[in-house]
């Protein structure tokens, strides 16, 4: 068994001390193996409490680390410690980086951009996240998100749709599909990027994992785009973490009357960059993007010209998501034409009808 890897895992498992304390130990002793190979008597010089030293050196933890490594191998999960070349570069420099990442797939090299938002997203949010994620992926960004329901799912799907790379940071072991309906998505992310977690395989999702996980999402990225967030959304924690880590925070504005956009609108008021198109993101990125690989453009949704009514409807939907009745009233398109026009727009992938019956723009021509 790889001694070096096991030492990392074992150090990671130690309880009673924070990541910064462990990093301090590493700074003093250079390698994790050195910590465990030290003489017992030299321990006093490190200033550890007895309980901390106990947990660090306990036999249980040794066995546990061996078990984790064995499990990971069996499940095809790779363990990437901080000193590995594959470890995301930007993540190393945050205050409390995960010592070890459990990875399914291969962590792609390049600039990460986080796209996060509400799990209970509206059609507007889902469509925006999907479209911007695919456009940014086409520009060569790695789309990083949390694989949760709602915006996260739309962001990953958008990146995959554009043939781009994407990373999911989980709040559970990378062998756990959570939410379960995203199992298929998880496999596709692993094939086109990586599913990563600081939790070893077998760890179930816990509510307190997710806020901790959010710092990793922002830590990997140069910036975080919040697409849709209510007042108490977890994506606001990600935005906060991004600020603390010195990352850019972007936000999509929303209807001020909708509680679903309250969080993002507040972010904008507090100084987050308002995003209308990916240009608003690109111009904030200091790095040269020309070196990054550009992925194939997806085919444009339908090239036939729109009818007068269809353009009128698109025009009207630009302002907000609308019900059938509201579209009829605002455009004045007669009923039998409206049904056909809406169906055409839907078929061509330009608008989408959500569960509440509202029509929303997916892609603007």
């Amino acid at each position: 068994m790889n001694k070096h890897l096991q030492a990392w895992v074992r150090l990671n498992l130690a309880e009673g001390m924070g990541i910064s304390r462990k990093l301090e130990l590493l700074r003093m002793l250079k390698t994790p193996e050195a910590i465990f190979e030290m003489d017992r008597k030299d321990w006093d010089g490190l200033g550890l409490k007895p309980a901390q030293a106990e947990s660090l050196l306990s036999e249980d933890k040794l066995r546990e680390s061996a078990e984790i490594i064995r499990m990971s191998e069996k499940k095809g999960i790779r363990i990437i410690p901080m000193d590995d070349e594959e470890y995301p570069e930007l993540l190393r420099y945050i205050q409390d980086p995960p010592l070890v990442l459990y990875v399914k797939g291969v962590i792609p090299k390049g600039l990460g951009l986080g796209i996060v938002g509400s799990r209970k997203a509206t059609g507007y949010g889902m469509n925006t996240a999907f479209r911007l994620a695919s456009e940014l992926a086409e520009e060569g960004f790695i789309i990083v998100s949390g694989m949760a329901r709602g915006i996260d799912t739309a962001a990953h799907t958008g990146a995959l749709h554009a043939g781009g790379q994407t990373m999911a940071v989980l709040g559970c072991g990378p062998d756990q599909a959570y939410p379960p309906e995203n199992r298929g998505l998880m496999d596709r992310i692993a094939r086109n990027g990586a599913v990563i977690s600081e939790y070893p395989p077998g760890v179930k999702p816990q509510t307190y994992h997710f806020p901790v996980r959010n710092r990793v999402i922002s830590g990997i990225c140069i910036g975080v785009l919040v697409v849709e967030a209510g007042q108490k959304s977890g994506s606001l924690i990600t935005a906060q973490a991004a600020l603390e880590q010195g990352r850019e925070v972007f936000a999509i504005p929303g209807n001020i009357n909708h509680h679903t956009s309250m969080g993002t609108n507040r972010l904008i008021r507090e100084g987050a960059k308002l995003v209308l198109s990916i240009q608003d993101i690109l111009e904030e990125i200091p790095w040269s993007l020309s070196a990054l690989p550009v992925y194939r453009k997806s085919s444009a949704p339908g090239t036939e010209p729109l009818s007068r009514e269809e353009s009128l409807i698109l025009q009207t939907l630009r302002a907000e998501d609308l019900y059938h009745d509201q579209i009829a009233e605002r455009t004045g398109v007669p009923r039998h034409v409206l049904f056909a026009a809406l169906l055409q727009l839907e078929i061509r992938g330009l608008v989408r009808k959500d569960l509440t019956g509202r029509y929303a723009i997916v892609s603007d021509r």
Partner: protein
């Protein structure tokens, strides 16, 4: 001392002759009723004894045996009180035997000797007519409902004394003048679609539903007006024929639910049972089965609010009756059939708390709950619901709109026309509206033009509609074409029909590619 009096028993909606045989003989005073009498019939002993005494007659201090023939059919209900009392008085020689011949007698007795109304009198009158009885003595309160059955002389009575006086010739009652058949609805009417502001899309969908007899699911937040829309559906359904009215009235008569002074129900019923209702009250049940909600909604609307809250087993029971148009309730000694050809209108919140996607009120469900809520509805039931639409929450501004709203009468004109077209088209078949088309009939009668076929095909490819939606869309499109009096289904009809299949779209398909 023996007597025989004719009365009527009911099995479901069918009446049959029952003879009340009374024997009075010497012996220890006793009063027994035999012939598979249920508790409510056995209790007639006490009512009859008191009623006879309190009407001023002497109750015989002898051994009285009553047999209800045929003795192998179970008898239930209180309508044997009056014939039993008359039977005893005939056997006691207070009433001359020949005077009761040719009479059908039915009614419940109060202890003071007054006669109370009983359920199912309409069905009994129909049975009497079929059995060629020409005279019926009935409770006066039941007179309105029997007035549609001509050819019988009705002798309405208010008390046992009146009945006895009539038979003994002391004060003969003249046969009742039959009331003009006056229709009366089973529900308080006065509802109209012009009461509903806005909601053009939903109203149009309901117009289509009414025209083709399609079942409907309305999805929307609490307060969006789902119930208001559903409640007005009977006002745009086609006018009832006399036969349909009679069928409805029979069911209500048997259920004892006819409104007072009603001879014929002429408006389509609207039934809205609560979701805590038992399976037996939905399809009908009881030891002597009574009609359930599905039958009370016969030729009308069965409204199931909060559809996902209904127990799965309750909803699954609905499937067979919806398919067949009748319910069959089997009991050890009889099988009772009640008709139940109703339109199902169901309503559901988009999620458990009801506010999923509401712009103002936050939804408190977890995303998982929200997504699971509607998918809980059983597939086979959803297969029988042709139209699924969302009902938007109205903002105050929309309520203010001053545009005049269409009245139900205007909408019903169009519905009647579309129904007439269907009736004509299906005259050789056993069906009368598009919703009843079977798979093979859909292929024969739902011809789509070229453009429409193209739209249909691309919609299926791009919108990932489920395969089972295909025939439903064609049926609804057929109805829309009928509303426009178009013999072929054209592209706009298909487009509209697809918009009424809201749940087929894979909203949750973000994670599947």
């Amino acid at each position: 001392m023996f007597s025989r009096v004719s009365t009527c028993g009911l099995t479901g909606l069918d009446g049959h002759l029952i003879e009340v045989e009374t024997d009075i003989s010497n012996g220890i005073p006793a009063f027994d009723i035999v012939g598979l009498a249920e508790t409510s019939v056995k209790e007639a002993r006490e009512r009859v004894r008191a009623a006879i005494k309190n009407s001023g007659f002497k109750f015989p201090d002898q051994r009285i045996t009553i047999n209800l023939a045929p003795a192998d059919i179970r008898k239930d209900g209180t309508d044997f009180d009056l014939p039993i009392a008359i039977g005893i008085l005939v056997a006691a020689k207070i009433i001359p035997e020949e005077s009761v011949r040719g009479y059908f007698i039915s009614g419940e007795l109060a202890l003071d000797g007054s006669v109370r109304s009983v359920p199912g009198m309409l069905c009994k009158a129909i049975a009497a007519n079929e059995l060629h009885y020409s005279k019926m003595m009935i409770p006066a309160q039941n007179l309105p409902e029997v007035s549609v059955v001509k050819g019988i002389e009705y002798f309405p009575v208010n008390s046992l004394k009146e009945a006895v006086d009539h038979f003994s010739g002391e004060a003969a009652i003249r046969p009742a003048e039959l009331l003009e058949v006056s229709g009366k609805s089973a529900i308080p009417s006065g509802l109209d679609y012009s009461d509903v502001r806005g909601q053009r899309h939903a109203k149009r969908a309901l117009e289509v539903a009414a025209s083709g007899g399609h079942n409907v699911l309305l999805i929307g937040s609490p307060g969006s007006g789902k119930t208001m829309l559903a409640r007005r559906l009977p006002t745009i359904l086609p006018d009832l024929s006399f036969e349909e009215s009679l069928e409805i009235t029979k069911i209500y008569s048997v259920a004892g639910m006819l409104p007072p002074h009603t001879s014929l129900i002429s408006e389509r019923p609207f039934r809205a049972p609560h979701h805590t209702m038992s399976a037996a009250s939905l399809v009908g049940g009881g030891r002597i089965p009574k009609p359930g909600e599905v039958s009370l909604a016969h030729h009308g609307v069965l409204f199931l609010d909060e559809l996902p809250e209904f127990g799965r087993s309750t909803l699954d029971i609905l499937r067979q009756p919806m398919e067949d148009g009748f319910v069959c309730i089997a009991r050890i000694n009889s099988t009772i059939t009640y008709p139940c050809r109703f339109m199902l209108v169901s309503a559901a919140n988009p999620c458990k708390c009801g506010y999923y996607g509401d712009p103002v009120k936050p939804c408190t469900c977890s995303p998982r709950e929200a997504e699971r809520y509607l998918s809980r509805l059983s597939g086979p039931l959803m297969d029988r619901i042709d139209i699924q639409i969302q009902v938007p929450t109205l903002q105050y501004r929309d309520l203010e709109s001053s545009k005049p709203e269409e009245t139900s009468a205007e909408i019903r004109k169009r519905v009647n026309r579309a129904r007439a077209i269907q009736k004509e088209r299906y005259r050789d078949l056993n069906i009368f509206c598009n919703a009843m088309l079977t798979g093979a009939m859909v292929r024969e009668y739902c011809k789509v033009d070229e453009e429409g076929t193209r739209v249909m095909r691309s919609a299926f490819d791009k919108l990932k509609l489920s395969a089972r939606a295909h025939d439903r869309i064609l049926k609804v499109a057929r109805t829309i074409a009928d509303l426009e009096e178009s013999p072929v289904i054209r592209a706009p009809h298909i487009a509209e029909a697809i918009q009424y299949r809201s749940l087929d779209r894979s909203f949750m398909s973000w994670n599947s590619d």
